[in-house]
């Protein structure tokens, strides 16, 4: 399904600010997998997602979705196969346009646009049905600019829009991180429902271990630009949050040891 092979990405290469965000990541995701990507800040988890979405091209390695080579495909072309929800609630919608118009664009994701009216009568009634299923009372406000809505409402709509046409792959980039806990829980519930309903293959970046434990069938733990752990569905069934913490500690310990070893060596030899 999604094959990521040995990808590398450095930002600001050959400068003082060089950041090697991905250092040889290989992942194979099966159809119907719901994968949670965990990791500390700067571990490269968001970079991994952006690499798949096409926000930039990787320096090395390849990305392949359903046999189609995405490696050098621009972001807007990948969108015909990929649905995406951003961390920032303002990123996924056009604020000055109405809710209905935003959905109309999503309903044409990756398809050729024509000169037909974007909001015809039966399409709007279809929108009303879908929006009322969010249970946010937005169905009466389809003609309002989306920019007037709260972050949670916008994120729920972005999720609806990203999955309006069933995507081959759904990318969720910490999409509840900017929301208050109550709204976040609601959006997560919605996410779960949509993914289960449409059997979507999903890659979700999160920093909440609770979410990672509760959702999905596989956990990838990133550290320092590499894949540190890959927890498959059998192991994941028995996984608790404290086990994940233990794994994190283990990574941390390894790193500390590396540092102290490096210090000892430098003291002795330099």
């Amino acid at each position: 399904m999604l094959k990521i092979e040995n990808i590398y990405k450095a930002f600001n290469p050959n400068t003082a600010n060089e950041v090697r965000a991905l250092k040889g990541v290989t992942i194979d995701i099966q159809e119907g997998d719901f994968v949670c990507v965990l990791g500390t800040n700067g571990s490269g988890k968001s970079t991994l997602l952006n690499a798949v979405a096409g926000s930039f091209y990787v320096d090395h390695g390849s990305i392949n979705l359903n046999g189609v080579d995405l490696t050098k495909m621009p972001e807007y072309k990948r969108a015909s196969q990929i649905g995406r929800v951003f961390q920032n609630p303002f990123s996924g919608t056009a604020p000055d346009m109405t809710i209905a118009e935003n959905i109309a664009i999503a309903a044409k994701r990756g398809k050729t646009k024509d000169l037909k009216k974007a909001l015809s009568g039966n399409r709007v009634s279809e929108f009303v049905g879908a929006v009322s299923s969010l249970k946010m009372g937005l169905e009466d406000r389809l003609e309002n600019p989306i920019g007037k809505l709260s972050g949670g409402q916008r994120q729920a709509l972005t999720l609806l829009m990203a999955t309006w046409l069933k995507p081959e792959l759904l990318l969720l980039d910490e999409h509840t991180a900017a929301l208050d806990p109550k709204t976040a829980a609601k959006v997560i519930e919605l996410t779960k429902a949509i993914i289960e309903r449409d059997q979507l293959t999903t890659l979700m970046v999160t920093h909440s271990m609770q979410q990672a434990v509760n959702l999905g069938n596989r956990i990838l733990m990133m550290h320092n630009g590499k894949l540190a752990y890959d927890i498959s569905s059998d192991e994941k069934k028995h996984l608790r949050v404290k086990d994940l913490y233990a794994l994190f500690d283990e990574i941390r310990k390894k790193e500390q040891m590396d540092e102290s070893v490096a210090n000892i060596i430098s003291e002795q030899y330099i």
């Binding site: 979405a53 807007y76 072309k77 919608t93 664009i105 999503a106 994701r109 000169l115 974007a118």
Partner: protein, 309 residues
């Protein structure tokens, strides 16, 4: 009265320019300086063709295409070559100055003896005089006014309908949130190039009509036109509070007419015509600053009323 009629007619012709500026400035937040060059470009193309006995309607159409291509160049410079928006406009505007001189062959082409669209419009009115609110005005002047008004109304309607189609909605979204449209399979660059092209096509058509109305095309006629367009759009926005597309379009057209009338009145008061551009700039400044100030004052008043205890 005929001064008023003339001002109204020019205001309405330049509403086409305002619509063009609306597309780049409101939809794409792109202050496009190509405008200064493409007004003249349209006028130059139309004038030289009309002088060479091309039908004025065809000449105006070709002027539109000329502006369209100029806009495409600006769009490509800005999107493909990642040039700063203002800079790409300035480059094309500067280049167009020479192009315009080449097209015209000299710096001014008179059209007074040639058959223009305005000649047709005048002929529809006939010879007589009409009594308007107590003034006697030539019927031909009125028919010109009515004709250009009809053109502007048609173009506005077409633009409005277009912006509500699937392509139009995508175009507006591309101007609103690039990241979002990319994630939904739209290449914002393509839409931006098209918008700048369309905008400059409209602006060139405005230039072509203006040249035919004034009876000449001049290589200097584009100077200050971007400010005119911005003023129209901004005045329209101040006047009309509803921010949906249709109202914004109506606002831009109204803005252009009102702005021309304001200028006419100022000149009537005995202002020096040399101060025209200065007045223009001051109007735009006022239109930009005052609304924000008023809202601030209103909010302050509200704050005072709110009881925090």
């Amino acid at each position: 009265m005929s001064l008023l009629l003339g001002s109204l007619t020019i205001g309405i012709i330049l509403a086409l320019l305002a619509l063009g500026v609306f597309v780049t400035f409101k939809v794409f937040h792109f202050p496009d300086l190509t405008t200064e060059g493409s007004v003249t470009f349209g006028a130059a193309i139309a004038a030289i063709l009309i002088v060479n006995d091309v039908h004025p309607l065809v000449a105006t159409g070709i002027a539109f295409s000329g502006g369209f291509i100029a806009g495409m160049v600006t769009g490509v410079l800005h999107t493909r070559f990642k040039l700063n928006g203002l800079l790409s406009g300035i480059l094309v505007m500067t280049a167009l100055y020479s192009v315009n001189l080449h097209v015209m062959g000299k710096s001014n082409i008179p059209l007074l003896t040639d058959t223009t669209l305005i000649t047709y419009f005048e002929s529809w009115g006939g010879e007589g005089q009409v009594n308007v609110l107590g003034w006697l005005v030539p019927a031909s002047d009125l028919s010109v006014l009515a004709s250009v008004l009809a053109i502007v109304v048609l173009v506005s309607l077409a633009l409005h309908l277009f912006l509500k189609t699937n392509i139009g909605v995508s175009l507006r979204a591309a101007g609103n949130n690039k990241q979002m449209v990319r994630a939904l399979g739209i290449n914002p660059d393509t839409y931006m190039i098209f918008s700048i092209a369309l905008s400059n096509g409209l602006i060139a058509a405005a230039g072509a009509l203006l040249a035919q109305y004034q009876g000449f095309a001049d290589v200097q006629m584009g100077i200050g036109m971007i400010v005119w367009g911005l003023a129209s759009v901004i005045i329209g926005e101040v006047l009309i509070k509803n921010k949906s597309v249709g109202y914004l379009i109506v606002g831009a057209v109204m803005g252009s007419v009102i702005f021309r009338l304001l200028v006419a009145i100022t000149l009537r008061w005995g202002m020096n015509p040399n101060d025209l551009k200065l007045i223009t700039a001051v109007f735009v400044l006022i239109a930009l600053v005052v609304p924000g100030y008023l809202t601030q004052a209103k909010n302050k008043r509200k704050d005072k009323k709110t009881d925090y205890a």
